[in-house]
């Protein structure tokens, strides 16, 4: 088993609760890997651990062959791991364009340091153009000048995706990108995610089984802080243990 991301024996507890209880998981380069599991299974916690927002109590994380277990969050982004949030986290008082431009600016390898104090950021046209491209990619070109606080929830979710993409990650972590969306917005987001297939490695946390089985190359099932299955969608669907533990009647 070799992958872009390799997780072994990962553990994390909150008080007496082991939210992550010995997770082994591999995400291969280029695949769209879905992570499913009931509420409270520890999916978001796992995303926190992979992105570096939380430190594990035990276990290791390897990314592109290197041990990243002890790296902080921004150092992991520099290596190529970027996440989005289940609960929308954008900059409400900034324009959509500026939200994405900040994500573009964060890419030191392409644009250099943010410790540049004199030249106006607005004079860096290449950054602005690229930010506009990302906004167009998620269908927000028209709203580029609006404040993030003023656009709809669905548009904020799309912005969240554009910001994550703009860091050009090798591995994109999406935590329930359709959370709180209506059916139409969900469908839009699903097609956006589908458009990433083949060019972008994605670890996708998602509730909607329909979307998961339609999009994913592989599916892992997390139950009570452990991965109980990790396989092709149809085989996960037919796994009796998975059915008993989680899927129940949701899959016909």
């Amino acid at each position: 088993m070799s992958g872009l991301l390799e997780i072994a024996g990962l553990k994390r507890h909150f008080g007496g609760l082991w939210a992550t209880n010995g997770v082994d998981l591999a995400v291969r380069e280029g695949e769209l890997h879905a992570l499913i599991g009931p509420n409270g299974a520890g999916k978001t916690t796992l995303i926190h651990l992979i992105s570096g927002a939380l430190a594990p109590d035990a276990g290791t994380l390897r990314f592109a062959g290197a041990d990243i277990t002890r790296l902080g969050m921004h150092a992991r982004v520099a290596r190529g791991i970027t996440r989005s949030y289940q609960i929308t986290q954008v900059f409400p008082e900034l324009s959509l364009l500026e939200n994405v431009r900040l994500a573009v600016q964060a890419r030191r390898r392409d644009f250099g340091s943010s410790f540049r104090f004199w030249r106006p950021a607005s004079a860096d046209f290449s950054m602005i153009e690229e930010a506009e491209e990302w906004l167009g990619r998620v269908g927000l070109a028209e709203q580029a000048g609006e404040h993030a606080r003023d656009v709809s929830h669905g548009e904020q979710r799309a912005l969240e995706l554009a910001m994550a993409l703009a860091t050009r990650p090798r591995l994109l972590l999406l935590d329930e990108p359709m959370a709180g969306m209506g059916p139409e917005e969900s469908e839009h987001m699903a097609s956006l995610i589908a458009s990433l297939k083949g060019t972008q490695t994605v670890l996708l946390v998602e509730h909607d089984m329909d979307i998961v089985f339609r999009l994913a190359d592989r599916v892992s099932v997390l139950v009570a802080g452990r991965v109980v299955a990790s396989d092709a969608p149809e085989r996960v669907r037919d796994d009796p243990e998975v059915r008993r533990a989680y899927l129940g009647d949701e899959v016909q």
Binding site: F91, W118, R119
Partner: protein, 310 residues
């Protein structure tokens, strides 16, 4: 168009401020030239704190350490025979920046109320250390034999000191405006709104904030160097927590994060103190009342009020 008008207005105000000493001399109120210098110096100090609070989003309650510290560096160097402003003032800036690097590196590991308390604690530590040092003048402070020598300029009279303070204030305001629009300034704007999100985009948030803290302290050190010259003294009161509190009051009064917040706050607070001090002995009480009024009726400070009118 609006930008052009603003720029012209700013230049006009600067010119008027530069001519102020002549006006005061003409009406025989020379005393107020010194007071105007004091205003410019405190405006610079409050502006430096406003950069930390308003741009960096860090409520620092120990700014007096850098402000008063700058004054002490100048006084101590003068005692050691270093009279030149060209040496002593940069030294004050460097000392304040270095102290901020150390204090910030430790304090920025905390957030919110803890950050307020720890910056306060560090500043008080410096205050108590300085008053226990005999060679720093203890409780009495350290008088300056003369003003710094800014050759070829003569700082001997208050008018010259006022002009120098005004020039440094204007230069600092201009520089901080550039910084706010730069990549670094935009990154600070993101941090102010959502620190964790910036970290998740790949920004070294801790370092970015530390640099902001250091820049603010360095400018406060410069203001302190000017203050020592204006007072002819580096005094422990300038290091005490009430001084930090006063600078914070100026920032809040003038407008947190507003370009001219520090300037307006300094003018309002010192002006009020001066005016009330003349008619009553209870200026602190009325200053408190004024602050309450601003909090109730102008939560974005005096700068916010002016913006609404403009």
């Amino acid at each position: 168009m609006k930008d052009r008008r603003h720029a012209l207005l700013e230049l006009g105000l600067l010119a008027a401020a530069a001519l102020l000493p002549f006006a005061l001399q003409a009406i025989g109120e020379d005393y107020y030239i010194g007071f105007a210098a004091r205003l410019a110096i405190f405006a610079l100090a409050a502006t430096s704190l406003n950069f930390v609070v308003g741009h960096g989003g860090m409520v620092a309650f120990g700014h007096a350490a850098f402000f008063g510290g700058g004054a002490y560096v100048v006084a101590l160097l003068m005692q050691a025979g270093v009279v030149s402003a060209w040496l002593a003032w940069p030294a004050a800036v460097a000392a304040a920046a270095l102290a901020a690097l150390l204090i910030g590196a430790l304090s920025l590991r905390t957030k919110g109320v803890y950050f307020i308390m720890i910056t306060l604690a560090f500043a008080q530590m410096i205050y108590y250390s300085v008053i226990s040092l005999q060679f720093a003048g203890g409780d009495d402070g350290l008088p300056l034999d003369a003003r710094s020598s800014l050759a070829p300029f003569d700082l001997g009279n208050d008018r010259a000191l006022y002009w120098v303070a005004l020039a440094l204030l204007a230069a600092s305001l201009h520089a901080l405006r550039r910084v706010a629009a730069s990549r670094y300034g935009r990154a600070l704007a993101g941090i102010r709104q959502n620190e964790a999100r910036m970290e998740a985009l790949g920004y070294p948030v801790f370092r970015l904030k530390l640099v902001c803290f250091v820049i603010g302290a360095a400018l406060a050190g410069l203001a302190g160097a000017l203050l020592a010259n204006q007072n002819g003294l580096a005094s422990p009161g300038q290091l005490y927590w009430t001084q930090s509190g006063m600078l914070l009051v100026m920032v809040i009064l003038g407008g947190v994060g507003k370009r001219y917040g520090g300037v307006l706050g300094a003018i309002a607070l010192l002006g009020l103190e001066e005016a009330l001090g003349l008619v009553t002995g209870h200026s602190h009480f009325y200053v408190g009342l004024a602050l309450l009024a601003v909090a109730l009726f102008a939560p974005r400070g005096l700068a916010g009020l002016l913006e609404r009118k403009a």
